[in-house]
Structures are given as structure tokens and as C-alpha cells.
């Protein structure tokens, strides 16, 4: 009975999110039409903020392992879960007015978001390969469906199809890696596998290396880093912007969670193998992401390539193999998520004359003359992504480089710094267009409803955390 109560306590956030998703579904059937949409938002926000409170309460019990060791709630799971709840809550606020304006189904959006967040929580708490797999799929499938929510637009459908095929293939590759690992260790629980790997390494070294490569490539597809990145710009461009925001935040939280769990907790014995593997991925992604972003004319594609580059800094933190590096990667993820939310919310604010979303950089020429505050917020976001002080992106990059300097290799630090300069060029080019170019036709600004206030808070948060990062840094350190 005692164990059951503890189980209830630490799993209450997931239970709440699940129940509220069902309740939202019911609201769609039983409530009168005019109340449906706002009540769905209220349910979603209640679920997410309730889950945050319950997660803090459950964490008082310390690290807990449940259900014969298939689920674990530790500091890594707890922090990333809270981060994902906050992110999802922000996405829901931004989405509300946008969904109506775009004539997308509102209720389905909230239900699927809650289910996706539920899957993400399960994935982050996984302590067994079955839990990991089920959580990963529960997170991904609502995302496939949500990208296709604008079902009359063929570019959205194409993005959904591409995301689906690549996602399914990545799952297949990841599973094959897990199957190979199972063949070598004959067990599926994370602690058991971690213990069995050093023993199995003597007999099955080649098998183990193959398993590692398959698992890493599977995660690389989910993260969208070179050489598994071809789908990313297309999905970013084709998906409705609110969905791009989700793919760019929730899916990345999942990928870092998996990376830290699988490589760091399960396969520390294979460190000498996975470190060079990560190095190849980082070197390629830094180059391709930053250099290709320079010649993009579409802002969403630019952000896609920039995300490839941003995530490679995050991988650099994992690459170091030290606790300082992992903590830096966690901090980098949190700040990246915060900045990305603001970036896509800003894109959602503007429409062209014909009512389409303004996605070309040229559309934003002279934004400062018509909408000065939004132009300033754009500048804050771009400078933060470029890693300039006093914004939070600077602190995040600083943490990564500090961790990397302690372990080396030194040339990698120089290489990453040089490519940061390239990155600064294309971010500042966007800001230059907004502030100094002449505008042809002024953009139409649309209200995000509740999201307007949140957007201001979000942009100011990027500055405030840059000035005062110590609280978040301590909370996220592993």
C-alpha cells in the first residue's frame, strides 16, 4: 500500500494530463459550441500548470523507481518534464487566437497537445526500453496528426507526410539498435543493460558498436542533425507555424532526454565509442547548419538551419562527457526552447496583404517603422540566438565552451567559435532588414490574444535570464 501511494504521488502529473485530455475531448462533445474553445484552453492550462505543481510536490519524495523498475522519476526526468509542461503551456497560449484565424480545429489541437506531452513525460521517465519506445511513439504520433490539421493545404500535408515517414524510419532504426543491444545483453531494463554492457563487451564488441551507431542515428534523425537533417527545413517551412514551434521545442526536449538517458546512463561503458561518433555529428552539423542558413530567404527555413547549428552546440555539451557538460547542455536546451518560442510567436504575429503568413525575410523590411516594439523583440531573439551578451544565448554558449575547454580538444573550441561568427552574420542580416531597409507594403499585424502579453514576457525573459541566469543554472545542473 505504501508503495502504491508513492507511485500515485510521483505519477500524479501524468495522470492529471491524461484525465484532462479525456475531459477536453468530452468538452467537445457535450458543451455548447460557444463555450467549447475557451473551455478547452482552460482545461489544457489547468492540466499543465497542475502537473507542474504536482511534479514539484512529487519530487519531495526524491528519486523513485516504480513498476518493477520500468519507470524512474529522478532529477533529469523532473527538470525536463517541468520544462516540457511550461513549453506546452506557452504553445497553448500562443495557439488560441492563431488556430481560429487559420480556421484549424481548436479542440483537437489541445487534446493532441496534451497526449503528446503525456508521451513526452513517459519518455523522460523511462527506465526500460519498452517504456521509452511507447513514450516516444505517444509523443510523435499526435505531432504527425497535428501538422496535418490544416487538411486543405497541400504544403501542410506534404510536411506531415515527410515528418511521418522520417519519424517512422527513425523509430525503426532506433528499435533495431535496441534489438541488437538486447541480443548482446539479454535484458531491457536500463540499469541491467548498463551493468551487462561491460561484461558483454568482451564477446560482442562489434555487435555493441553496431547497436550504438543505430541508436545514435535514430536519435540524430529525431534531433534533425547532419547527416539526418534533410527533412527538417521542409517540415519547418510546410507545417503551420504553431506546429513548427512544437516540433522545434517539444521534440528537441525529447531528443536530449533520450540522449542523456541512453548514452550517459545506459552506455557510459561505451564512452570511448560514442564520443567520436558525436564529434563527427557536431562537426558536420555546425558547418552545414551555419553555412546553409546564410543563403536562406525564408525565415522559417533560416530558423530550421539555425536549429541544426544550435543543437550541435547542445551536442557539444554531451560530447564532453562531464557533469558540467551535461548541465550546460540542459541549460542550453532550456534557453533554446525559450528563445524559439518567442521567435515563432513573432512570425505568427504578421500576415501579408493576401492573408498568408509572412515567412520571407524580405516581407519584414522596414518592420521597425510600423511595429517598433515587435522589431525590437525580433532583435532580442536574433541576438540571443547569435549568442551575444547580455542575452541568455550568450550565457548558454559560454557554459558549453567552458565545459569543452576543460576536456578539449582545443581545435573543436576554435572551430565552433569561428562558426559562431558565421551564425552572427545571418542573424544580424535579418535584424538589419527589419531596422534599416525600406518597406514596400507594410505587414498586417494580427493579435495573438492572450499570447500578446506572453510574448512580451517571453522576450523580456530572454533578457532577464541573460542578466540573472544563476537560479536557472543551479536548478538545471545535474
Amino acid at each position: 500500500m505504501g508503495t502504491f501511494l508513492i507511485a500515485n504521488k510521483v505519477l500524479l502529473p501524468e495522470m492529471l494530463v491524461f484525465l484532462m485530455s479525456l475531459l477536453t475531448l468530452m468538452a467537445g462533445v457535450f458543451l455548447p459550441t460557444r463555450m467549447r474553445e475557451s473551455s478547452a484552453l482552460v482545461f489544457a492550462q489547468t492540466a499543465l500548470w497542475g502537473a507542474i505543481a504536482l511534479a514539484f510536490w512529487g519530487m519531495l519524495a526524491g528519486t523513485v523507481t516504480l513498476f518493477s523498475g520500468t519507470v524512474v522519476v529522478d532529477h533529469l526526468a523532473f527538470t525536463l518534464k517541468v520544462l516540457s509542461y511550461v513549453t506546452a503551456s506557452g504553445v497553448c497560449f500562443y495557439a488560441h487566437a492563431y488556430l481560429k484565424a487559420m480556421k484549424m480545429p481548436v479542440l483537437e489541437f489541445y487534446v493532441l497537445t496534451l497526449l503528446s506531452v503525456l508521451g513526452l513525460s513517459a519518455l523522460l521517465s523511462a527506465n526500460h526500453f519498452i517504456t521509452l519506445f511507447v513514450g516516444l511513439e505517444l509523443m510523435s504520433m499526435p505531432l504527425y496528426a497535428m501538422i496535418a490539421l490544416r487538411r486543405h493545404r497541400s504544403d501542410c500535408l506534404e510536411a506531415a507526410l515527410k515528418y511521418f515517414v522520417i519519424g517512422a524510419m527513425a523509430t525503426g532504426i532506433l528499435l533495431y539498435g535496441i534489438a541488437l543491444l538486447y541480443g548482446a545483453t539479454h535484458t531491457l531494463g536500463f540499469p541491467d543493460v548498463a551493468n551487462a554492457i561491460p561484461v558483454a563487451m568482451h564477446g560482442h564488441h562489434l555487435l555493441m558498436s553496431f547497436a550504438l551507431v543505430f541508436i545514435t542515428i535514430g536519435i540524430a534523425f529525431k534531433l534533425g542533425i547532419v547527416p539526418c537533417h534533410m527533412w527538417l527545413p521542409d517540415v519547418y517551412e510546410g507545417a503551420p507555424t504553431i506546429m513548427t514551434m512544437m516540433v522545434a521545442t517539444l521534440a528537441k526536449i525529447a531528443a536530449l532526454g533520450m540522449l542523456l538517458r541512453l548514452l550517459v546512463s545506459v552506455m557510459p561503458a561505451l564512452f570511448a565509442e560514442w564520443q567520436p561518433l558525436l564529434m563527427v555529428l557536431v562537426v558536420l552539423s555546425l558547418f552545414v547548419g551555419n553555412v546553409t542558413a546564410v543563403k536562406q530567404a525564408n525565415l522559417k527555413r533560416l530558423l530550421a538551419y539555425s536549429s541544426i547549428a544550435q543543437l550541435s552546440y547542445l551536442l557539444l555539451g554531451v560530447f564532453t562527457g562531464t557533469t558540467a557538460g551535461y548541465s550546460a547542455a540542459m541549460f542550453y536546451l532550456a534557453t533554446y526552447v525559450l528563445t524559439t518560442l518567442a521567435a515563432f510567436a513573432l512570425i505568427m504575429c504578421f500576415r501579408r496583404e493576401d492573408g498568408e503568413e509572412a515567412v520571407d525575410i524580405a516581407d519584414y523590411a522596414g518592420l521597425f517603422q510600423h511595429h517598433p516594439w515587435h522589431a525590437v523583440m525580433f532583435a532580442i531573439v536574433m541576438f540571443s540566438l547569435a549568442g551575444m551578451p547580455p542575452f541568455v544565448g550568450f550565457i548558454a554558449k559560454l557554459q558549453i565552451f567552458q565545459a569543452l575547454l576543460q576536456t578539449g580538444p582545443f581545435w573543436l573550441v576554435i572551430y565552433a567559435l569561428l562558426l559562431t561568427v558565421v551564425a552572427a552574420y545571418y542573424y544580424i542580416a535579418v535584424v538589419k532588414v527589419m531596422f534599416f531597409d525600406e518597406s514596400q507594403t507594410p505587414l498586417r499585424k494580427v493579435s495573438l490574444g492572450l499570447g500578446n502579453g506572453l510574448l512580451t514576457l517571453n522576450a523580456l525573459g530572454v533578457v532577464m535570464l541573460g542578466v540573472q541566469p544563476s537560479g536557472l543554472l543551479t536548478w538545471l545542473s545535474l
Binding site: F129, I130, F133, V134, E137, M141, Y144, A145, A148, R151, H152, R153, S154, D155, L157, E158, A159, A160, L161, K162, F164, V165, A168, M169, T171, G172, I173, L175, Y176, I178, A179, L180, Y182, G183, H186, T187, L188, M230, W231, P233, D234, E237, G238
Partner: protein, 101 residues
């Protein structure tokens, strides 16, 4: 005598065939979905073979989860495919090129 190695070789062959099918398939999207299914089935075969050989039941339980999830996955994939067909009146892979990349 058919041993563990035969099953593992077969499953890895299936996996490679399905992977190639996804990557070089230039004709039909349905074929692509079939390849995705086959990839998961190759993994299933690997799990069952290893699980049976080492008398560890957890691999076979994993297979049940994969089967269930694969069914859900193909449902979503076909739903997107139907929508795309309604929009464009074709499901050739070649025609899916509105987004450059």
C-alpha cells in the same frame, strides 16, 4: 539445422531491404509505408529470435508493443495519405516536391 544466426541474418536482410526501399523508392507512397512496416517486422523477428534463444520473455513482450504501435502508426500514415490524395489527386513520390529539399 536452423540456428539463431539464420534468423538474425534474415532479420537484418529484411531491415536493409526496407531501408533501401524507403530511400530509393521513387514511385509509390504506399510502397514507402509498406517498407516502414517491414522495418518494424524485421525488428520483431530479431527480438523473437533472441528472446527464444536465451529464454528471456521480455523480448517477446516488446514485440507485442511494437505490433500495436505499428498498427497505430500505419493508421496515421494512411490517413495523411488519403488527405494528400484528395488534395493533389496523386500519390506519386515524384509529385511530393512542393517544398524544396
Amino acid at each position: 539445422m536452423i540456428g539463431l544466426a539464420h534468423y538474425l541474418v534474415l532479420s537484418s536482410m529484411l531491415f536493409v531491404i526496407s531501408f533501401i526501399g524507403i530511400v530509393i523508392n521513387r514511385r509509390h507512397l504506399i510502397v514507402m509505408l509498406m517498407c516502414v512496416e517491414m522495418m518494424l517486422l524485421a525488428v520483431n523477428m530479431h527480438f523473437v529470435a533472441v528472446s527464444q534463444y536465451f529464454h528471456d520473455i521480455s523480448g517477446q513482450i516488446f514485440v507485442f508493443f511494437i505490433l500495436a504501435v505499428a498498427a497505430a502508426e500505419s493508421a496515421i500514415g494512411l490517413a495523411i495519405l488519403v488527405l494528400l490524395y484528395r488534395c493533389r489527386q496523386t500519390i506519386d513520390v515524384e509529385s511530393i516536391d512542393q517544398l524544396k529539399g
